[in-house]
Amino acid sequence: MKKLFKMRYLILRRIVQIGLLFLYFAGNAYGWSILKGTLSASVLFDTIPLADPFAILQMLSAGAMMGIDVFVGAAIIVLFYGIVGGRAFCSWVCPVNLITDLANWLRRKLLLDKVERKVWVSRNARYWVLGLSLIVSALSGLAAFELVSPITIFNRGVIFGMGMSGGVLLAIFLFDLFGVKNGWCGHICPLGGFYSLIGRFSLIRVRHNEPNCTLCMKCKEVCPESQVLFMIGKKSTTVNMGECVNCARCIEVCDDDALGFSLRDFATTKAKGDNK
């Protein structure tokens, strides 16, 4: 029971991820009207439009003229993640997260992390890919990342049938397992980069309580974006970097109650400014 409690957020995340995929699937297969469409654009309860703001951005740079629906849908998504969730899309919704988390878990079990790393990719590469996808879209007149995005390939695969999608997903699994730790989500994926940017100031944050910390570093080991936990054992503050995916793995593995969810702490950021 204690073990289950220690996996509460993980279990909840899997339920949300797979549940959403199932709702999309049921929207097509059984005609349920809860969620129709795909992660690119969908309709909630046959009325509320939702749309992927990054896809809209690419299509705009490709020069598309679009209906008003998708802009409303994109605004809803931007506001939700911008104000509430940060990069929660990545860990709570995105289906590719299932694959990369599996690769990451295997890496830990097979002790692949302990071996010296040969392939190196910058954490900032995703912002270059983001910029590049907008440039390629503008030059080619086609939403460039949408065309190759494993996220929507996986999502459509579940809804409309997989075809050869498995190859793309296997490639990401192998890249994350043997190539770079958290290679896809933490280094390459421009959608992750995009949500890092809009979620920079979102409210729900992980909070570190320094006096409780025993420096066991379990949280850093398990965190997919370990650079955001720079304050572990140093000072009590909230994780304020946009790259945090709010997956709550750090909270679960912490045996000392040094980490937990809280609202963004504007007070401490101010206090930090006073210290200077």
Binding site: G27, N28, K36, G37, T38, S40, A41, S42, V43, P49, A51, D52, A55, I56, M59, A62, G63, A64, M65, M66, G67, D69, V70, G73, W128, V129, G131, L132, S133, I135, V136, L139, S140, G141, L142, A143, A144, E146, L147, V148, T152, I153, R156, G157, I159, F160, G161, M162, G163, M164, S165, G167, V168
Partner: protein, 277 residues
């Protein structure tokens, strides 16, 4: 920084400025490399000309940039006609298309696939008519493609009686008509051959689906592929409306094409020269 080893002092110093510029140059170079490869892939994906899109789809290039690949058109289709392109289909990934020989478009009168499109890649206006001041959806205005008959393999052109495509056509008698041709082989029979009319054909593919030959002898192609273009030069002398065009044409725009056509016909006849230069 590297003053510990005296031997290395002659080496150029990696200053912060140099480091910054080098890293910038590396990043830009790598991005350009990635961009070029990516661009090549995207251009390759765009170049699949034999696709049939859902009704009311914008012209292919506009459709590709406007379609958000959400699949709501495919979900709305009651016949599962519309497919969402998967990796390996040879179709720009994630875009809707259909293969009429497998499942044609059944031309639903309420066109369920078009209104759900959130971006307007399926342009509802193009399949709407105004009737008594009211806007009405009209699937007959759809132009998904154009049916083309291969005379060589169509058995009706052999003289065997078959009107499967004609019967299957939802715009029967307008998009496909039957022409009677004298059967020269027997001398006393007629061949009843199908003829497609581009003005009325929606490209639904029901004819292709119904065709009895092993591989369909009537098939739908995208309009840009299936149709020719006579240009402005030819005028139908028997059509009053077409004749109007002559009045609007200014002779200044007519250009002399070759050296020889500058001369008058008499000159050419009286000249002693080779017929073909």
């Amino acid at each position: 920084m590297n003053t510990q080893n005296p031997k290395k002092e002659n080496k150029p110093k990696i200053t912060e400025r140099r480091r910054f510029l080098t890293i910038m140059a590396q990043s830009v170079g790598l991005s350009a490399l990635g961009g070029i490869v990516w661009m090549g892939y995207v251009e390759e994906a765009k170049a699949s000309p034999l696709l049939l899109r859902p009704p009311a789809a914008l012209p292919e290039q506009d459709f590709l940039r406007t379609c958000i690949k959400c699949g709501q058109c495919a979900e709305a289709c009651p016949y599962d006609t519309l497919l969402m392109a998967k990796p390996g289909d040879g179709v720009p990934m994630g875009t809707p298309y259909f293969i009429p020989r497998d499942v044609p478009c059944y031309m639903c009168t309420d066109i369920p696939c078009v209104p759900p499109c959130p971006t307007g890649a399926l342009d509802q206006k193009s399949v709407t008519t105004v009737k008594d001041g009211k806007e009405e959806l009209d699937i007959n205005k759809a132009r998904m493609g154009l049916a083309v008959v291969d005379h060589e393999s169509c058995i009706a052109f052999w003289g065997i009686q078959c009107d499967a495509c004609y019967r299957a056509c939802p715009v029967l008698g307008e998009a496909i008509t039957i022409d009677f041709i004298r059967n020269e082989r027997t001398g006393k029979h007629a061949k009843l051959v199908p003829v497609v009319h581009a003005d009325h054909c929606t490209g639904c593919g029901l004819c292709e689906h119904a065709c009895v030959t092993e591989k369909a002898a009537i098939f739908v192609l995208p309009r840009e592929v299936a149709m020719g273009k006579p240009g402005d030069y030819y005028v139908k002398g028997w059509s009053k409306k077409d004749q109007e065009r002559i009045k609007q044409r200014s002779l200044e725009n007519l250009k002399t094409k070759t050296e020889r056509s500058k001369k008058k016909p008499q000159e050419y006849l009286n000249m002693d020269e080779e017929l073909y230069e």
